[in-house]
C-alpha cells in the first residue's frame, strides 16, 4: 500500500486556512464572518489532527469551531451584524501594512534558529519528551502522555491556564453585568428587536431535549477517560457547557437561570480553580511539594502511581467545572447583554 499523501493534504488545508482568514477579515456581514471563522477553526482542527496532536484538535473543535462561534453570534444578537465604520484612510492602511510587515519580518528572521520540526536532536525531543514517554506508565499509570504532561509533570502550567479561563470569565462578567437597580432609575434600555427565537419551535426543543443527555454523558466520559484517550477537563468542560448553552438557546435563558442562578454559576466558576489549588495544597500538607500527587497516596486508594493517576483525575474535574460554568456565564452575559434576564 503506498503511503497516504499526507503532506499534500496539509498544504491544501493550510491554503484553505489562509483563504478563510482573508475572507473572514474582508467580509462586511459580521454574521457571515463568524461562520467563516468557524470554518477556519475547523480547518485548524484538521491540521492539528493530521500532525498527531489529537487533544489539541479536540479542544480546537470544541472551543474554536463550537462555543466561540456561539459567543460571536450571541454578541451580534445584541449589537449589529453589519459593519458600519470604515477603518481609516489610505495613509492609515499603509501605516498598518508597514507595522505588520516589519513585525512579520522580525518573526521570520527568528525562524532559522528553531530546530527543524520533529528533529530528533532538538533539546525537547532529545531530553524531555523521551523521559515523559518512557516514565509515564511507571509514574502514574496514564498511557495518554498528553494528559500526564498536562496535569502532572507540568501541572503548574495547567493551573495557571485554568486561572486564565477564570479571569476571562470574571472580566467579561465585570464589564458586561448591569446593575438592575441602576438600570431602572437610569434611561430605559432599548427594546430588543424581535428576531427568530428557536424556542418557538417544538422540533428544535424536542431534538435538543433528546440530545443533551447524550452530550453530557459523552462529556463526562471525555473528562474521566482523558487518561486513556484524547480528552480531559478542558474538552469535557466545554462540551458540558455547550450542552447547557444548547438548552438555553432552544428553550430560553430564563429556564437555564432557574436551574443555575447567577450566584451558583459564579461560585462554581471559582470552585473549579479552588479544587485544583486545594489538591496542590493537600500535597503540601502531606509533606510534599505543591501539586506533587505522590504524597496523596495515604488518602487516595492504590499505590503511589495510582495516587498520581487519581490526583490527575481530581484536577481534571476542577478544570472541567471551571471551564463548564465559565462558558455558561460568558454566554449568559453576552446573550442577555449583561442583564441576566432574557436573550438569545
Amino acid at each position: 500500500m503506498p503511503p497516504l499523501p499526507i503532506w499534500q493534504f496539509d498544504v491544501l488545508l493550510l491554503i484553505l486556512v489562509v483563504l478563510f482568514a482573508v475572507v473572514a477579515l474582508s467580509i462586511r456581514n459580521l454574521m457571515g464572518a463568524a461562520v467563516v471563522f468557524g470554518a477556519y477553526s475547523f480547518m485548524m482542527c484538521l491540521i492539528w489532527a493530521g500532525m498527531g496532536a489529537v487533544d489539541v484538535a479536540f479542544t480546537e473543535a470544541a472551543v474554536g469551531a463550537g462555543v466561540s462561534t456561539v459567543f460571536v453570534v450571541s454578541t451580534l444578537y445584541n449589537t449589529s451584524a453589519t459593519m458600519r465604520s470604515r477603518p481609516g484612510g489610505l495613509a492609515f492602511k499603509l501605516f498598518i501594512g508597514l507595522v505588520v510587515t516589519i513585525a512579520g519580518a522580525f518573526l521570520l528572521s527568528a525562524l532559522p534558529d528553531f530546530p527543524k520540526w520533529g528533529a530528533s536532536d532538538s533539546p525537547v525531543n532529545a531530553k524531555v519528551a523521551p523521559y515523559y514517554i518512557l516514565n509515564t506508565i511507571a509514574d502514574s499509570h496514564v498511557p495518554n502522555v498528553v494528559t500526564s504532561v498536562l496535569a502532572d509533570y507540568r501541572g503548574f502550567d495547567t493551573l495557571l491556564e485554568t486561572t486564565v479561563v477564570f479571569i476571562a470569565c470574571i472580566a467579561i462578567y465585570s464589564i458586561l453585568r448591569v446593575d438592575k437597580a441602576k438600570l431602572e432609575t437610569g434611561e430605559p434600555a432599548a427594546a430588543p428587536v424581535p428576531r427568530y427565537d428557536p424556542g418557538d419551535s417544538l422540533i428544535v426543543r424536542q431534538a435538543s431535549r433528546f440530545m443533551v443527555p447524550f452530550m453530557q454523558l459523552f462529556a463526562l466520559y471525555v473528562i474521566a477517560h482523558g487518561h486513556y484517550s484524547p480528552g480531559g477537563g478542558f474538552q469535557g468542560g466545554v462540551i458540558l457547557g455547550a450542552s447547557l448553552i444548547l438548552l438555553a438557546i432552544s428553550f430560553d435563558l430564563k429556564s437555564l437561570l432557574r436551574q443555575w442562578s447567577e450566584k451558583t454559576l459564579m461560585l462554581l466558576v471559582a470552585a473549579g480553580v479552588f479544587l485544583y489549588a486545594a489538591v496542590g495544597l493537600a500535597c503540601m500538607f502531606m509533606g510534599g511539594d505543591y501539586l506533587d500527587y505522590v504524597f496523596l497516596d495515604s488518602i487516595l486508594p492504590g499505590e503511589k502511581d495510582m495516587a498520581r493517576s487519581h490526583g490527575i483525575l481530581l484536577v481534571e474535574i476542577g478544570v472541567g467545572i471551571t471551564v463548564m460554568f465559565s462558558m455558561i456565564a460568558i454566554h449568559i452575559n453576552l446573550a442577555s447583554n449583561g442583564r441576566f434576564d432574557r436573550g438569545l
Partner: protein, 105 residues
C-alpha cells in the same frame, strides 16, 4: 463486505456532489436548504455506514466498539442535521424569504 463499503462511500460522495450543485444552482433559499439538508444527511450517513463495512466487527469482538461509536454518530447526525435545517428554514420564513415561483423572473 469491503466491496459494499466502497460502494456506499462512493455513492455518498456522489450525493455530496449533488448537494453542492444543488446548493449553488437552486433558485431560492428554501430549495437550497432542501438540497443541503437532505443530501448532506444522506451522504454523511452513507459514508459512515461504509466506514463500518470497511472495519466490520470480528468474531472476537474487535471492531464492535468502533461500529457502535459510528452508529452513535449516525444517530446524532440523523437527528441534528434535519433539526438544524428546520431551524434555518423557520428563521428564513420569519425573516421573510419569499419562495421561488415558476413565473417569477
Amino acid at each position: 463486505m469491503d466491496f459494499l463499503g466502497y460502494i456506499l462511500i462512493s455513492s455518498g460522495v456522489v450525493f455530496f456532489l449533488g448537494t453542492t450543485i444543488g446548493l449553488l444552482r437552486f433558485p431560492d433559499f428554501y430549495t437550497r436548504m432542501h438540497a443541503a439538508g437532505k443530501g448532506d444527511t444522506l451522504s454523511t450517513v452513507m459514508i459512515l455506514i461504509g466506514c463500518i463495512c470497511l472495519n466490520p466487527a470480528q468474531e472476537d469482538g474487535s471492531g464492535l466498539l468502533l461500529a457502535l461509536k459510528i452508529l452513535l454518530i449516525i444517530n446524532f447526525i440523523f437527528i441534528g442535521s434535519p433539526t438544524a435545517t428546520h431551524a434555518m428554514m423557520d428563521a428564513g420564513n420569519k425573516a421573510g424569504a419569499t419562495p421561488w415561483r415558476k413565473d417569477s423572473k
